[in-house]
Symmetry: C2
DNA sequence: GGAAAATATGTGCGTTTTACACGTAAAAAG
DNA sequence: CTTTTTACGTGTAAAACGCACATATTTTCC
């Protein structure tokens, strides 16, 4: 049952070697590692010139990117329980960086949106990130960048499409805490 | 200073539009979101048939992928302080999933490696992940998959290359806690 | 139309996770 | 060979987190 030569036919006749998938997974792990580096956030926040709790930074960025956005969706994108995110949003409100507003079509949803101050901050963060990305990707050709972006988008959509699923709390909702 | 038409020349004459970079960043955010979903880990762990604390799972996978690996490097890949990871490794040792061994050439480093039991577990996790990936990427052609993997690897290397850097704690080592 | 189920959000509260301060040991730099 | 840097670990206290539970709104279905 070693997987070194494991090959499996897919429904439409293509084959995916384990090796290729592992290679892909390894690259993704590296990317996630970089994105999860706290120093990375720290640099951006410092550039933006504002002190912000570690846990709040990714939320602010997500609100900027995907807002107006509900707490549950925000929690999903952030990989945290919605109760945790709810509290963190509360802190962002206190800091004057975001606001809540009831969704027009579904009054259960209290959308989170950036305030002017929050927008100013994410703008500076975007600039900092863009600067870093330019430095990292400066030697890529325009065509290559286009292909990269296309593949990334397509891959993201593919894995986003995996049924939320498998996991979907069954037996108990409890997490598997030891 | 709006960025809608912001274009900047790079050292070798190419241009990177902000739009393209933003598009790329958004895709990366989606990917990271999926990877960070706790339910995802939960599913894998359940598949592997063993209860494992949430925080321990990513470490086990990293040790399997990159081990033997030192605590500091593990901490970097995991985006946590090395003291945190040190303790978590201790727990993995207690669970009999990993072992520590002093590096032969640098006795400061206590490499972390999988035990047979740990390897058996990561093998099952790998199978579960592979199954998910096949489901998600089953309709990609072999050529496309190759390109995807290549681009991912190249992008990972590019951002891994960003000097650890900018951030590098200066004034104080203290994190920017509020 | 209305009961039942599903979804979105939020608070109480105990647990888990995390990082800073500090110390030791080994290697690298000078 | 002294100084600096790097790797690792423990004490301690705070931050982050999630489950149980409750409310409000929408959706489902008979």
């Amino acid at each position: 049952m070693t997987s070194s030569e494991n090959v499996q036919n897919t429904h439409d006749g293509h084959t995916l070697t384990s090796g290729r998938l592992r290679q892909l997974h390894e690259a993704v792990l590296d990317i996630v590692a970089v994105m999860n580096r706290p120093q990375r956030d720290a640099f951006m926040v410092r550039t933006a010139g504002i002190a912000l709790d570690r846990a709040l930074f990714p939320l602010l960025v997500l609100v900027g990117k995907f807002g107006p956005i509900g707490v549950v969706e925000l929690a999903d994108r952030n990989g945290r329980d919605h109760t945790t995110v709810s509290r963190q949003v509360g802190r962002l409100v206190e800091l004057g960086l975001v606001e809540r507003q009831v969704n027009e079509h579904d009054r259960r949803i209290r959308e989170v949106i950036l305030t002017d101050r929050g927008r100013a901050m994410t703008d500076r963060i975007d600039e900092a990130r863009e600067s870093l990305m330019r430095a990292a990707l400066g030697d890529w050709s325009d065509e290559e960048l286009g292909q990269l972006a296309t593949f990334m988008r397509r891959y993201a959509d593919a894995i986003l499409g995996i049924p939320d699923h498998h996991n979907a709390g069954d037996q108990q909702n409890r997490q598997f805490t030891r």
